[in-house]
Amino acid sequence: MDERLNKSKLRLLNPITKGILCIIYILMISFFCKNWLVAFNLNLFLILICFYAKEETIELLVSLKKIWFLLLIVGLFQGFVGSSFNIFSCLNAIFKVMGIFLTASLYTRISTQNELLYFWEICFRPLKLFGFSSNELALTMVIAIRFLPVFMNEIERIRIAQIARGAKMKKNMIASAINFMPLLIPVLTQAIMRSEELADAMEVRGYVPNRPRGRYKTYKLNKYDYYSFFIMGIILSLIIYKYIHN
């Protein structure tokens, strides 16, 4: 959750809207861009929307820094067709990867953890046919997210304890992976002990697996959801039209 309390309109969208729009946008970029201009325009549109919604657009663009190397490689590989270099297919590939990255990071920026879970829980509902309970799956994910920082702290604590007892931690990657092994046993033991206590704590608070549960957070559709579906509909039709008539 962002503590700056960013009230951009994108954040007000229903989690289902956010999820569906994000998926459609990524599919659109991946499969309907034959031409670099189309890919470029989709990127541009995304950035304009961010700007209009008063999202932190600059920060979003700066985050591209993380994948500059990937963009370069993809551009080079796609650019070489046979023996000559085609600048347009190079650009197309770059804008596609960039668009997917921007969409995904915008999605995680405008969604809280609860909203992500809410959406994925709904996506998992069809799994009921195979005997999985989407409720349980969602709760498992909540617990996983909840305990991630706890385990990171634990690993750090045990690592420091081992260094204090004379274990040497090397800097390079392979050596540090090997060094990680001795940490695994105590961390796993701790995890099992924790999970037993957590199961007890959940039971005391009335948790019974597979029993219907109430819901603390519910999300209603508001007018912005309808606007966004409408806009997305227009873009999708344009893109498909362009795809067919090209």
């Binding site: 959750m1 503590e3 809280t112 953890q113 609860n114 909540v142 617990i143 997210i145 909840r146 920082p149 706890v150 924790r194 206590e197 957590l198 007890d200 704590a201 959940m202 039971e203 005391v204 608070r205 009335g206 948790y207 019974v208 029993r211 219907p212 549960r213 109430g214 819901r215 603390y216 957070k217 519910t218």
Partner: protein
């Protein structure tokens, strides 16, 4: 009031080593009930029996209220040692809501009860704050808020102060004293620490499967010999030295 009526318990059916051997005693509301005893004597087991995580092998545990409603449903909550191991939600609001969601209440009720419980601890403006950003003491408070949201008639605290720093301990005891004075919730605290024992109003000592002492703090402090398996806290020892 909680009444233990000849309660026996062993973990394994085949085993003959009983953790509790026909224990009978009672605990009252309106006072802090302390449960002490040496390591492994079965304090946590007793706590689990009270909250219903375990069922007595023999005997029974009864809950009685003054103006009794025979159909009343008694819920007992429990606070475990490590706050980190009992927080289920990723945010403060989610964790307080967890127990209420289990009761399958409608959303509006859950929201109201969450705010009510959160405001006891000043959490009402922080409902969306991730749990990972809380200090140890705040996590403990969150655990208590989450149990209080369920309106229990009893709460058992199993070594609640062992993960807290001294300042958080003071805060913890303030909360407990507040609950004893201002609510109808029965309080049982399991602790080994001498500085906790001075907060108890009533003390029960468990040793080798039996309750060997069950009386008020004053009677405990005036015993000639400490009950088997434990030692007097420093302040009682000091008092005696001064008196001699």
């Amino acid at each position: 009031m909680i009444l233990f009526d000849r309660v026996s318990f062993c973990y394994n059916e085949k085993e003959t080593s009983f953790i509790l051997k026909g224990v009978s005693f009672s605990l009252q509301k309106g006072i802090i009930n302390g449960l002490i005893g040496k390591n492994g004597c079965g304090k946590s087991t007793l706590a689990r029996l009270i909250v219903g995580l375990l069922k007595p092998t023999e005997g029974e545990i009864q809950f009685k209220e003054e103006n009794e409603d025979p159909n009343a449903y008694y819920f007992s909550g429990m606070i475990f040692q490590n706050p980190d191991n009992q927080i289920v939600g990723t945010t403060i609001g989610d964790d307080i809501a967890f127990g209420l969601e289990n009761l399958n209440l409608p959303t509006e009720n859950i929201e109201q009860l969450v705010v009510k419980a959160a405001s006891l601890f000043g959490f009402e403006k922080m409902l969306d704050m991730p749990v990972s950003k809380l200090s140890g003491g705040q996590k403990q408070m969150l655990c208590i808020a989450s149990v209080l949201a369920l309106e229990p008639s009893w709460i058992v605290f199993d070594e609640p102060t062992s993960h807290l720093d001294p300042w958080a301990r003071i805060e913890f005891w303030n909360i407990i004293n507040y609950l004893v004075d201002n609510s109808n919730i029965g309080i049982i605290v399991i602790s080994q620490l001498p500085e906790d024992i001075i907060h108890f109003g009533h003390i029960s000592v468990l040793n080798e499967g039996c309750i060997i002492f069950n009386d008020s703090y004053d009677v405990f402090a005036s015993l000639n010999q400490p009950p088997e398996g434990i030692d007097f806290p420093e302040n009682i020892k000091l008092q005696r030295l001064l008196n001699n």
